[in-house]
């Protein structure tokens, strides 16, 4: 066997780094959308490698819903300092205060949908020509059809029927004034690839991903962390459970899984044997069969 081949992780890394460099070469004012989740963390570390020994030549943009896990915020501030990168925060609370969006009410209220407005406002305000995100095609069926370079019109909308063909590694980032691109360098990674890469590269991740004791309630089969943002129904009784999170969204909508995986090795073993998708714990996807497609069209992550 020839020695001139790459392992799947090395090939995925090379592809993602090529895309990240392409973004910086093609766009005047790019940014990286940082959620605090493992996918955007991997993206930040790939960006560091891509431009080393120079600093990452674009800011991290965090759309702060105000409903974050405290662990996410702590990690975000640590990472920004560690990488020496600029942080731009778009605040959903500010969008609410300005009357740009209206807060949902009721037990299942969430700020998930409100983020889209804050995100688009932030992109417009800072004139970002390209916003990179950690979305993967294996996550969800609407994302399976997403391009690496995804064109957005002046209203930030995605038109899935009219996407630019994307061939070889030739990425077309040409755009008119007011339009922007979403770029997904780790499109071809799966959840398992992300975990293997975190393990292989020894990338620090928020404590939430590891097994810990937490006060939770169970609602519609989902294990939700208690927090000031989650309104309890009269019959819901908080209890302690040993859990971890497979994704890092907003506190009121991110379901935990019962798990004693407290190391990366154990997490990888758990992911390998898991019979449910990671987004299976996300209440935002369960709203309808086409929840993701509908949100993406209007400019969601």
């Amino acid at each position: 066997m020839s020695q001139y081949y790459l392992s799947h992780l090395k090939e995925l890394e090379a592809e993602a780094v090529f895309v990240i460099r392409e973004v910086v070469a093609q766009f005047e004012n790019p940014a990286l959308l940082f959620s605090g989740g493992k996918d955007s963390i991997v993206l930040a570390y790939l960006s560091r490698k891509a431009f080393y020994p120079a600093k990452i030549p674009f800011p991290l943009v965090h759309i702060d819903t105000g409903h974050n896990f405290p662990e996410t915020m702590e990690y975000r501030d640590w990472l920004v300092n560690e990488l020496g990168v600029r942080l731009v925060v778009g605040s959903v609370q500010e969008s609410i205060d300005k009357g740009r969006v209206k807060e949902e009410t009721g037990y299942n209220a969430s700020r998930n949908a409100l983020q889209t407005v804050t995100l688009l406002d932030t992109i417009e305000q800072h004139k970002f020509g390209a916003a990179m995100g950690g979305a993967r095609r294996d996550e969800e069926k609407a994302r399976a059809k997403e391009r690496f370079f995804s064109h957005r019109d002046e209203f930030g909308q995605w038109d899935p029927k009219n996407q630019r063909p994307e061939l070889w590694n030739l990425f077309n980032g040409r755009k008119h004034m007011g339009e922007h691109f979403r770029v997904f360098p780790i499109s071809n990674w799966t959840e398992m690839d992300v975990w293997q890469y975190i393990y292989a590269e020894n990338i620090p991740i928020p404590k939430l991903y590891f097994s810990h004791e937490r006060e939770v309630i169970i609602r519609d089969g989902a294990i939700l962390s208690t927090s000031p943002y989650l309104k309890l129904k009269p019959d819901e009784v908080p209890m302690k459970k040993i859990v971890r999170f497979r994704t890092c969204g907003d506190m009121p909508i991110t379901g935990a899984v019962e798990s004693d995986a407290d190391t990366l090795e154990k997490i990888i073993a758990e992911v390998a044997s898991s019979r449910k998708t990671e987004r299976g714990t996300r209440a935002d996807d369960k709203r309808s069969e086409t929840a993701m497609e509908d949100r993406k069209k209007s400019g969601y992550f």
Partner: protein, 419 residues
């Protein structure tokens, strides 16, 4: 753990209509390799029941967007993922209707391998020729022909043999060196992942085994050294004040520190000082690695330049012969101007001549053509404002490919393979 951190990646494309059982086959590969999750399966079971089926329709697993489900068609290329202990797979799943040639070309552009499905009851049909031709045009190195629905022809060896012979006769006209055949039933699972007891006359491997073992190490060009410069890294820091790194992805050949190189178009010669990635020095770099190079001499290099070896230059021309696939609703006439994107370089170009258009069902040439419409494939000549540094597509799929971008709409309107 170390073993699966070292898996290889195989990208393959499938093309076909619903009738071929393509979606069922993909569903079968995902299901039998345990890449389907409980919640996905539950959703498919529920949809099958809602439609009144008395079986679980695995093809629903590859169902895409709302607008597609409403029309019962696949609009676009969808990407799917599965892994076995031996390899990770990326499927570019494309619809097979004639109007979707552009999607097949897109899916094929990054594939190592094409799966061609033939319905055992129908034998070779127009679509078989079209898919195979596109695989050959896009220089996909490997083809696996799946003779599907063997259960519906009573697993008859003679039916299978006849199709294999017919395909071999046809494919001798194509430029694909590695073609394998396998009799399967995607619905029943015969010879997909598990060997079938229904085909004792078949001595070959299962489809999955072929996918896991096909030799892909030679799919990249490791002979002709090509490094298109993507971006110049210049840290604005005291520590790395004089650092000038050339970032890019190796497109061919092998580069090592100390190698003599030439930079094009300037023609300056130098030596490679270091090759590194993420701060770690590397002893060599080959396709498709992303690396950063530093050179022994300070020479002016920018994005779009290409680093090669002094004794092995790429071709340099302003007049190019291409096989072109037109991908836009709006037809194109002679003398239309475009942006041409090739490696990391962008130049302006003009369509000078259409030599012939290809009827991809009969593989016959239509001459005296003055325009191209969506999904047309043609042999053309273009002229560029500055020279491109390229290899023939046959020699290198990276330095031999380009796209055309419309100057007004900015859309990607065509894919070109340099002859």
């Amino acid at each position: 753990m170390s073993t699966y951190l070292d898996n290889q990646l195989l990208r393959f494309t499938t093309a076909g209509s619903v009738d071929d059982g393509k979606s069922t086959l993909i569903g079968r590969l995902l299901y039998d390799s345990k890449s389907i999750f409980e919640d996905q399966l539950e959703a498919v079971e529920a949809s099958s029941a809602k439609k009144g089926f008395d079986y679980v329709d695995l093809s629903l697993l590859t169902d895409g967007l709302k607008s597609e489900r409403e029309q019962g068609i696949t609009i676009d290329v969808a990407y799917r993922y599965f892994a076995t202990p031996k390899r990770k797979f990326i499927i570019a799943d494309t619809p097979g209707h004639i109007q979707y040639t552009r999607n097949m070309v897109t899916g094929a552009s990054t594939a190592n391998l094409a799966l061609i499905l033939i319905d055992a009851r129908k034998g070779l049909v127009e679509q078989t020729f079209r898919h195979s031709y596109i695989a050959s045009l896009l220089k996909i190195p490997h083809i696996i022909v799946c003779v599907n629905k063997m259960d519906l022809v009573s697993y008859d060896e003679a039916v299978y043999d006849k199709i294999v012979q017919e395909y071999k006769a046809f494919s001798s006209k194509l430029e694909v060196s590695d073609i394998q055949f396998v009799p399967i039933s995607a619905l029943a699972g015969d010879n997909v992942v598990h060997r079938s007891e229904n085909t004792p006359w078949y001595q070959g491997a299962t489809l999955m085994h072929m996918l896991e073992t096909v030799h892909i190490e030679s799919d990249y060009n490791h002979i002709d050294s090509r490094f298109p410069v993507q971006y110049v890294i210049r840290p604005q820091s005291k520590e790395y004040h004089d650092f000038r790194g050339y970032a890019g992805r190796v497109a061919g050949g092998i580069f090592r520190p100390g190698d003599d190189i030439v930079v094009l178009p300037s023609g300056f010669n130098s030596k490679i000082k270091t090759i590194e990635f993420g701060g770690k020095p590397l002893e060599e770099a080959f396709a498709p690695m992303s690396v950063t190079m530093t050179l022994a001499d300070e020479i002016d290099i920018s994005r779009g330049d290409i680093i090669a070896k002094p004794n092995n230059h790429p071709q340099s021309e302003q007049d190019l012969d291409l096989m072109l696939c037109w991908m836009n609703q709006k037809p194109v006439n002679l003398n239309t101007k475009f942006y041409v994107r090739h490696t990391t370089r962008e130049v302006r170009g003009v369509l000078k001549e259409i030599q012939y258009k290809l009827d991809i069902n009969s593989l016959t040439r239509l001459e005296n053509v003055d325009h191209l419409a969506m999904n047309d494939i043609a042999r053309v000549k273009i002229r560029t404002a500055q020279p491109l540094f390229f290899d023939s597509y046959r020699k290198n799929r990276i330095t031999g490919s380009l796209i055309l971008v419309d100057e007004g709409t900015n859309e990607t309107v065509a894919a070109g393979m340099i002859v």
